[in-house]
């Protein structure tokens, strides 16, 4: 399985840069497909716009996790910290300063990137299991702080009571969630394009190289720590954007946005879709959220049965192999 991901990992960025691979898809193609599919789904199921919005936001979050886990190869269980910080920052900004959605989005991005910058400087000095446990520690410390600072975050009751002003001064957030869904889809598509370009850039190739062999990349003169730090910060910015979107479209931020359970679920979604490919993140988030929506509405314990079985199946029948098989069937064209 390892060898398959390796060859694919090397093929994916080459395909992403149009100049490097004549047969490969340009960076804008997959985001465009997402845009068309997302818009079509919204048009076909106008009564499920809330679910659609959740799928778009989750996809964005898993996309940022894929940059960390799939591209850079840093297994983390604390990704919810970056999401939650973005959500709380956007919520507090809307409540205390100004309820404009786009400025709030920028604040969320800045908060996510800021936390990733600060915590990355500490976390990225460690590897493997230690790194994993330290990311958990960071998110749990933030959770405890958010619980304690009731005045700012509302503690266990959650942060609520903010009303966003119309998007761009024109589109009001309606009750059916039409504007919210379009807004989330637009942000997802733009950031997906950015992530694709990033992964296909020389910087992205360097990060993939570090994933494959950090010692050799260091010997080649790549500043390993700095590359990973920048990548972690970018992933933090995207996760912060997802947090801000979630705060603005739901008009509430709960402590569960910082929880360990969210981090673990995100990882499940990523593995389900296939890590390291960015499109896999979006597929995984969509499938998982749809499954969750149908199974959890019946009984939360049934949901555990479903996701538990799914997890064991994913290990026994690896999605990477299935993807490779599908791609071979499709004639090797992505």
């Amino acid at each position: 399985m390892n060898t398959i991901t390796t060859t694919e990992a090397l093929a994916a960025p080459a395909a992403a840069t149009a100049a490097a691979a004549p047969r490969g898809a340009p960076a804008w193609r997959a985001p465009l497909v997402v845009l068309v599919l997302g818009a079509a789904a919204c048009a076909l199921a106008p009564d499920q716009l809330g679910l659609m919005t959740r799928i778009f936001i989750t996809a964005l979050l898993v996309l940022s996790l894929d940059l960390v886990v799939g591209v850079a190869g840093l297994a983390t269980l604390g990704h919810a910290a970056l999401f939650g910080v973005g959500a709380y920052a956007a919520g507090i900004f809307a409540l205390q300063v100004h309820p404009d959605p786009l400025i709030g989005l920028a604040v969320g991005i800045a908060a996510g990137a800021g936390l990733a910058l600060l915590s990355g400087a500490f976390l990225l000095r460690y590897h493997g299991f230690t790194f994993l446990m330290l990311t958990v520690a960071v998110s749990q410390i933030l959770l405890s702080l958010a619980q304690r600072a009731r005045g700012w975050t509302g503690g266990d009751d959650g942060l609520s009571g903010f009303v966003m002003v119309p998007l761009l001064g024109r589109f009001e957030f309606d009750l059916e969630g039409r504007v919210a869904a379009c807004y989330a889809l637009a942000v997802l598509v733009v950031l997906f394009y950015v992530a694709r370009r990033l992964v296909g850039s020389p910087f992205g190739l360097a990060v993939r190289g570090i994933h494959e062999n950090p010692v050799r990349m260091a010997a080649l003169g790549t500043p390993v720590f700095r590359r990973l730090w920048v990548l972690y910060t970018v992933a933090g910015a995207i996760a912060g954007a997802a947090g801000a979107l979630s705060a603005q479209t739901n008009a509430v931020v709960g402590l569960d946005s910082l929880s360990f359970a969210l981090s673990a679920e995100l990882l499940v979604m990523l593995i389900l879709g296939g890590a390291g490919r960015l499109t896999g993140a979006i597929v995984g988030a969509t499938v998982f959220t749809l499954l969750h929506h149908t199974a959890a509405s019946i009984n939360p314990y049934h949901w555990l049965f479903v996701v538990g079985t799914l997890l064991m199946l994913v290990v026994v029948v690896s999605p990477a192999k299935v993807w490779a098989w599908v791609r071979r069937r499709a004639g090797g064209v992505r």
Binding site: A137, Q140, H302
Partner: protein, 285 residues
């Protein structure tokens, strides 16, 4: 002063429960390189078996506890033989996903079979009373917990370093191929150490039932605590796990006594500091 002594004694009991559950995981993780996140579920199974045997089947406590521990060991051995041994050579992430999925299924199954309410293990009259320590009274059960923790620590250290089985285990870990050609039954060794780890988790689940209430989400709720202890103590190091369990158990208890409004903040800060200081475990440089 009184508060200090209270913290020390309650913290010690808590630490011992943490240690008994963690040491099994430390062995599978460190010695067999298998990331077993269903370890919390084993503790839960042990606790549930003991609770059901004493309450529903009216068994004596002293009979029910060994039976529950044995049942957990059998479950661990069966899982190891049927599925988990195929995952030894897989990537860590695969092991993590599979065992987390297994925990989810066990949680859902427990809930479906027994229900979501908290399970209590009725104590025999010998343990239900309390001992007068002069400055406070202490439930006798806590004394049993502390004694059991010390016994497990001593036995585990002795078994790994002094017995033939311990030698086989370490040889299998170092190079299973060579160990096998020397006639060491490596499959038996792996299976037995996995079962022993599961049994210890079950014992910890029973001993800690008063401190960590048994309910279906138990498997995930306390998994994080156990993982933290193993990470800080250093994988595969029994002494390190003991030191880490005592340190972190005391810190958690002290912060519950003195600063409960901060939640688990101090526990995780302590973990981050200790891990940053000694990334490979407290007792390893």
């Amino acid at each position: 002063m009184n508060t200090f002594l209270n913290i020390m004694i309650d913290g010690l009991a808590y630490s011992m429960v943490l240690f008994v559950i963690s040491v099994g995981l430390s062995v599978t993780l460190g010695l067999m390189r298998f990331v077993n996140l269903s370890h919390g579920a084993f503790a839960m199974v042990g606790g549930y078996c003991a609770a059901l045997l004493t309450r529903e089947a009216q068994w004596s406590f002293w009979l029910a506890v060994p039976a529950a521990v044995a049942a957990t060991a059998v479950l661990g051995a069966a899982l190891e033989m049927l599925v988990l041994r195929h995952l030894y050579r897989r990537k860590e992430l695969d092991q993590v996903l599979f065992t987390i999925g297994l925990s989810f299924v066990l949680i859902a199954a427990t809930n479906a079979a027994v229900g979501p309410q908290v399970q209590l293990i009725p104590l025999p009259s010998l343990l239900a009373g309390s001992v007068d320590l002069g400055f406070r009274t202490l439930p006798t059960q806590r004394l049993l917990v502390i004694a059991a923790g010390c016994t497990v620590a001593a036995l585990a250290a002795w078994a790994v370093t002094r017995t033939r089985f311990g030698i086989w285990l370490r040889a299998t870990v170092d190079h299973s191929g060579t160990a096998s050609t020397l006639g060491i039954p490596i499959r038996t060794v792996q299976c037995a150490s996995f079962a022993a780890g599961a049994a210890l988790a079950g014992l910890g689940g029973i001993l800690g039932a008063e401190l960590m209430p048994l309910e279906p989400y138990y498997a995930l709720k306390y998994l994080m605590l156990v993982l933290v202890v193993v990470a800080v103590g250093g994988m595969g190091s029994i002494a390190g796990t003991l030191v880490a369990a005592i340190l972190l158990g005391l810190i958690e208890t002290a912060s519950k006594y003195l600063a409960s409004e901060w939640g688990s903040l101090f526990f995780f800060v302590a973990m981050a500091v200790l891990l940053a200081w000694r990334p490979n475990g407290l007792l390893k440089r």
